[in-house]
């Protein structure tokens, strides 16, 4: 592929063409028809989560995903993002998080506020169920959300909640393959107002290359939806409390590559498969293999487990990259 020139004003059109070209093969495995016209369960969706999984191990992304279960780990980020809406009104992170959780449980959003997010149902339903989310679980979610939000604001240098005016939260850029039931669904945590534009912000717990692939994928979708590239892309790295500026000129090629890698894997999923499709890249690691449906019969994992460094447990020595 020719490198995508990020300076071109019609970049979004070029990106659309590149995606259509690179995703032709996986798209042909999907139902014919426009996504908007197909039943929901006949559309293959490639999320930014799939992109991250495929970047770590393409074969793992080809396994059927387990059903989403809300819990402390999977809800705190959503709570933190929604809490940002209430920051200016409540004046403190703790109060904003508390307000968000009460609102979600009551599911009676203030109509004057931003539009309800598509996730409100699952989160509100979960938090309102005393068997699924008793009080200690809710407080632990609030604690994680508070920590996430407090650190994010610190890194962005925001000491006054009033300075969050104009921020946008939890943005969902997307793109649909024309004529096929293939949908790319992205996610951007925040967007800060800039001169005539918004700067997308990703809040990350690691700068692992797979996570940066996800960010690149999301920026491609953002650019297509906004019809222009962002002037700057910011990353809040939570553990190191660091603000990074990603070089935008490298993101577009990387994002298209990441989308293609994930689409190949996701469209190869079949409920009956006992092993991944031949040709998908395998990159075992302790973390990647821990929740993988193929782990038991994976030769690459077996080889990884035989490595001395892994036996020693220090994990100083990285894993080899193999292709099945």
């Amino acid at each position: 592929m020719t490198a995508i020139d990020p300076t071109r004003s019609e970049l979004h059109q070029r990106l659309t063409m590149e995606l259509a070209d690179r995703l032709t093969e996986p798209a042909l495995r999907c139902e014919e028809g426009e996504v908007r016209d197909l039943d929901r369960n006949r559309v293959v969706r490639v999320s930014d989560h799939d992109v991250g999984t495929a970047a770590r191990c393409q074969a793992k992304a080809a396994a059927m995903p387990s059903e989403f279960e809300p819990n402390i780990f999977t809800t705190s980020r959503a709570v933190a993002l929604r809490s940002m809406r209430w920051l200016r009104r409540t004046g403190s992170v703790v109060d904003a998080v508390g307000h968000t959780m009460r609102q979600a449980r009551r599911a009676d959003h203030d109509a004057s506020d931003d539009a309800p997010t598509p996730d409100i149902d699952w989160l509100g339903e979960y938090l309102a169920d005393p068997a699924a989310a008793p009080i200690d679980v809710r407080v632990r979610i609030a604690a994680r959300a508070t920590t996430w939000l407090t650190t994010t604001l610190d890194v962005l240098g925001v000491d006054d909640p009033q300075r969050t005016r104009g921020w946008r939260f939890d943005i969902r850029p997307r793109w649909r393959y024309p004529g096929r039931g293939l949908a790319l669904d992205g996610r951007v945590d925040l967007a800060l107002p800039a001169a005539g534009n918004h700067s997308p912000v990703f809040v990350l717990s690691t700068l692992h290359p797979a996570v940066l692939d996800q960010a690149a994928f999301n920026i491609c979708l953002w650019t297509i939806n906004q019809r222009k590239p962002p002037d700057e892309v910011l990353v809040v790295e939570l553990p190191t409390a660091t603000l990074h500026r990603l070089p935008t000129d490298e993101l577009f090629d990387r994002g298209v590559d990441a989308a293609a890698r994930a689409a190949h894997a996701v469209t190869a999923r079949t409920p009956e498969a006992s092993r991944p499709t031949v040709g998908l890249t395998r990159t075992p690691s302790g973390f990647t293999c821990s929740a993988c449906a193929w782990a038991h019969g994976c030769e690459a994992k077996a080889e990884f487990d035989r490595q001395p460094a892994h036996r020693g447990g220090i994990q100083l020595t990285p894993s080899p990259r193999t292709t099945d």
Partner: protein
């Protein structure tokens, strides 16, 4: 009590009260504005932080320069310098190899985890109390089952008498937390916050702070309070842990260094800008029923940095040994009885092996020994940044 480089005192105030006014506990060696003195506890300046960072960077870069990572091996896995690794490396370098073994839990560790969780809940919900006849463990069971499943399994396997003992101890210790903590919500709390600093590429210094708070000094928010919740009594090792966290937190502030862009040393006449925020340590020691503030000096941060260099040296030596199939260096002693790889090591003293072979269960018999610390002896895994891979739909 003193641990040499630091001064500590046991106070009767709550953590919230300490955060609201920390000036009396800073021990600046002069007035609380820091205008006087040659005290070793003067707060670090930007120049101090730059020097400390440079010291770490140069030392670590030198150590990791020859790390054997061939192009066929893919991206470098960062070398993690955790609190646990720093401590075990100083006792016996081979203890780090126990990380590959399943996480070991015992009575003391279980008590500590529940108290930690209780403190985390109270930080956001100071009115939380066990419901009805339920104790703290049962009241926290749903969240513990998600965050520490090995803990709930361990407790459920306890015999009736041990279980009653466990509940009694947990309720005693956790019951003291509401008063010791106070209402932390006005102080911008973070709970179980995973922190890291990357001084050079390929090396990551990490930790997890139980509770951190904004701290007010002389009426203005002037720093961050880093608090550890301990189910035992205060001991000097806790100071080392707090220094580890303070080092990371302090170095993270370099992003705000007003002279960050300067080539070389900044002009002495230049605007110094706002000084770095002060990092104050504190142990909530349930064994003492007390909040113990710890004055963290520049000297302590330097000591902590030196330990990181020593640990790096030890870990790289182990990695090299393992890659070439050699036997790792060990430092056998009484501490072997706490090591998770004692049975596979081969170097443990005969007396220790005899104890273990006779099933004396030393972990259980030494509960509440103030010298016992799971982070030293059990190798608690306290740093794991990756969350479960499940996506919100």
């Amino acid at each position: 009590m003193s641990s040499g480089l630091t001064k500590v005192m046991t106070v009767t105030l709550s953590l919230a009260e300490l955060a609201a006014d920390a000036a009396p506990y800073l021990d600046l060696g002069g007035d609380s504005a820091g205008s006087a003195g040659e005290s070793t506890t003067d707060p670090p300046t930007w120049a101090d932080l730059r020097a400390l960072h440079r010291y770490l960077r140069v030392g670590l870069a030198d150590l990791v320069a020859d790390r054997d990572v061939g192009p066929e091996r893919g991206p470098v896995t960062p070398l993690r310098l955790t609190k646990g690794r720093v401590r075990t490396a100083a006792i016996c370098p081979a203890q780090v190899l126990a990380e590959v073994n399943p996480f070991g839990i015992n009575f003391n560790i279980a008590v500590g985890i529940v108290c930690d969780a209780a403190a985390g809940v109270l930080a956001l919900h100071p009115g939380f109390r066990p419901a009805g006849q339920a104790g703290w463990f049962e009241s926290l069971r749903p969240s513990l089952a998600q965050e520490h499943p090995h803990l709930t399994e361990f407790v459920d396997r306890l015999g009736r008498s041990d279980r009653a003992d466990f509940d009694h101890v947990v309720d005693d210790l956790s019951g003291a937390l509401p008063e010791l903590l106070g209402d932390l919500r006005p102080h911008r709390p973070t709970v179980h916050h995973r922190i890291a600093h990357v001084p050079v590429e390929g090396v990551q210094i990490t930790g997890e702070i139980d509770i951190s708070l904004d701290v007010t000094i002389d009426g203005t928010v002037g720093g961050r309070l880093v608090a550890e919740v301990k189910s035992g009594r205060f001991n000097p090792r806790i100071t080392d842990e707090l220094a580890h966290y303070a080092l990371i937190t302090t170095l993270q502030q370099l992003r705000n260094d007003p002279h960050a862009g300067s080539a070389g040393e900044p002009d002495p006449g230049a605007d110094p800008g706002e000084p770095p925020r002060r990092v104050i340590g504190c142990s909530v020691s349930l064994g003492d029923l007390a909040v113990v503030p710890v004055t963290l000096s520049m000297e302590m941060l330097e000591t902590s940095a030196r330990r990181l260099l020593d640990t790096t040296k030890g870990l790289l030596a182990i990695d090299e040994t393992m890659k070439t199939g050699g036997r790792p260096p060990t430092n056998p002693g009484d501490h072997c009885r706490w090591c998770r790889r004692v049975s596979e090591c081969g170097d443990a003293p005969d007396l220790v092996m005899a104890e273990i072979n006779e099933s004396l269960r030393p972990l259980e018999t030494l509960r509440f020994d103030p010298e016992f610390d799971p982070a030293v002896h059990g190798g608690a895994v306290d740093d794991e940044f990756d969350e479960p891979e499940v996506e919100a739909s």
